[in-house]
């Protein structure tokens, strides 16, 4: 299982979470990565944790102000990037452009979407993975694997119908190891997490609990 910890713009210490991500990743079979804010990418990558960007723009080198360039993110040490997170929804043409930009910079890509139909659409753009996150469950503590297990299975089917090579992750409300196991049982290859780890008093303990049942 792939566990990606999205730090959003939480008031957490990105280096503390990154160190926990690095250490727990080494101790277990799970693959764990952390997605800090753009301004923190370089320092987070220097911890040795697998580092992801939260977003890249559908642009190339040139006259773009306030944008996130895939090459810059990769140079800062990112191995991959989220695209179209529910808090950063993009136009279809721009998701396509962002996937192309990320591929150009050798970044792995996860395109997020709300439901199985959109997951099929995201898969058709050829990213490495897609992630289904029902917006109404984000931040609730109620895991998608429990609140709406069909949505995960249907997302797995929708992606497979379009492109067998695209992995499916799920997110929203995941905070325990049981949630991760349930996601895996439903066919997900990974999970997106945020507050459950980033806002934990002890991020390392939170991560260990998450991957322990795997």
């Amino acid at each position: 299982m792939f566990v990606l910890v999205n730090l959003k713009t939480y008031p957490c210490d990105p280096l503390e979470v990154a160190a926990a991500v690095r250490d727990v990743d080494e101790e277990t079979d799970a693959r764990i990565a952390v997605a800090p804010q753009a301004a923190h990418l370089e320092r987070v990558a220097e911890t040795g944790a697998e580092t992801w960007a939260q977003h890249v723009d559908p642009i190339d080198y040139g006259s773009n102000t306030g944008h996130t360039l895939a090459e810059t993110v990769a140079d800062a040490g990112a191995d991959g990037t989220l695209i179209n997170h529910s808090e950063q929804r993009l136009k279809l043409a721009d998701i396509d452009g962002a996937v192309r930009a990320a591929q150009r910079a050798d970044l792995e890509t996860i395109v997020c979407a709300n439901n199985p139909a959109q997951i099929g659409a995201a898969a058709a753009l050829g990213p490495d993975a897609v992630a289904v996150e029902p917006p109404e469950l984000i931040g609730t503590g109620t895991p998608v694997s429990q609140a709406d297990p069909d949505i995960v299975e249907d997302a797995v089917d929708a992606a497979a119908n379009v492109d067998d090579d695209v992995d499916v992750l799920c997110g929203a409300g995941i905070s325990t190891g049981d949630d991760v196991v349930a996601a895996s049982d439903l066919g997900a290859e990974g999970v997106l997490l945020a507050s459950g780890v980033a806002k934990a008093d002890d991020p390392r303990a939170a991560l260990e609990d998450l991957v322990d049942p795997l």
Copy 2:
């Protein structure tokens, strides 16, 4: 072949074009429809021409100001709607929402996109049809079927890979009957047109020329 004439915000007489659409549709085997501005829908539909909306928003009845509601468009006489035209690009989640809104109001749907990858994505959302329009050719007078025939064939393949029931149209630069025949030969079930008819001195003659070789 389905020929959809998009009037955009051109300074044309929508009723004159609508009358031509209605008459040429009756004279030929082609299915011809016209997409006027929202404020013109009702009068255009009253001509008896098949009438389409240029856009609907991903909304329901309620607190939305300045939006286009699918039910209102249908009540005004529209049979279908374009979604995500290159001049009205939407977020992926909103294309999905607009397709759902249109289906709720029994409107036929054509989702536009730039390239085969995006056509696959659009087809995954389950519209009645998708339309590939390379943005760089729109308004040029150079038809996509001539400038880049592969893009039409690849779009047909991309849609079929996702959902065999989704028709594929093409647009951009189409202005002659040969262009329409070429589009059909490449596998397209229809074409999107705009200035070639809407800005013609004689819209009826322009339409007759377009469908004559079919």
Copy 3:
């Protein structure tokens, strides 16, 4: 006082509300107008009620699909248009462009904004009027003139500081004649209303109650 009834995409009968607006406008000193959806503009204007658009785009005649052209709105019978309603927020450059487009088509303009600082900004663009509507009060039934009277007075001051010729309206939560009087006492030249009239069982009675204390 100017009373503008925004029909949004409510499931109301626009012609019934328009008839009430026309009749009550004639019976009283207040100026009353109605803002229907774009597809209803023409039929609403034919009732004889003063008719406004809910939105116009910052565009000219040309290649724009799914947009609302100021000239089309004016041809359909609109006398004015809302711009930047809280449900249709625009980029600063596009508010400027929409005001210019409306002026080109001889439409009266009301630019909406959230707070006194934004009201000053809106006034600097030279519309006929601005309207302050705190988003948190819209649809609540708690009038801005009661929940936060300072915001109306501060908005009047902010507009006057920039351009004395720009009228100030207020909106959000206004549903009784006392609310309208309170708004007037705070310096507002008019009010924006929506559900209080549009969703009333008897729109005419609701309007009469509103303007009765004036």
Copy 4:
């Protein structure tokens, strides 16, 4: 005069330009700063050059993915931020929110706009400065002070009419010391630059030429 060098997403070495900015700032009376991409902020600030962000989002700590938080930008060493650059146009409400976010993090603010009317609007939001940049001149090498001097003087008047404490800068096409002097003569307190320095073979020499006539 304040000279702000925007590195956009140019393929330049941000540390080389930052070192030039730092050194030329020390050698002259002009105040010079550099605005790198978010992922470069920390390393650029460590050079000792005055460092600015290219953009901040109208958000607070919390659930925001792929956004730029003012506090993070300030912690990384930024002293100020551009807002609403023509390549990053924002909704009016979001410009207001971004100015508030920047002020909360003690960042200096420059709000960009296209023309004098929008400059007045920007000034009404209470930033430290506004910058007028006619979009049609950006990247042309034709300075606004020469192509359209009235726009600079009108922008200075528009800002002064709203708030005397708001400085006015200008940008677009500025590449020589004469352009900077001309801007100053028209009433501008500073200039925005980009390619003229960022893409120069010798950024230090380019900067020295720029400030030499001051």
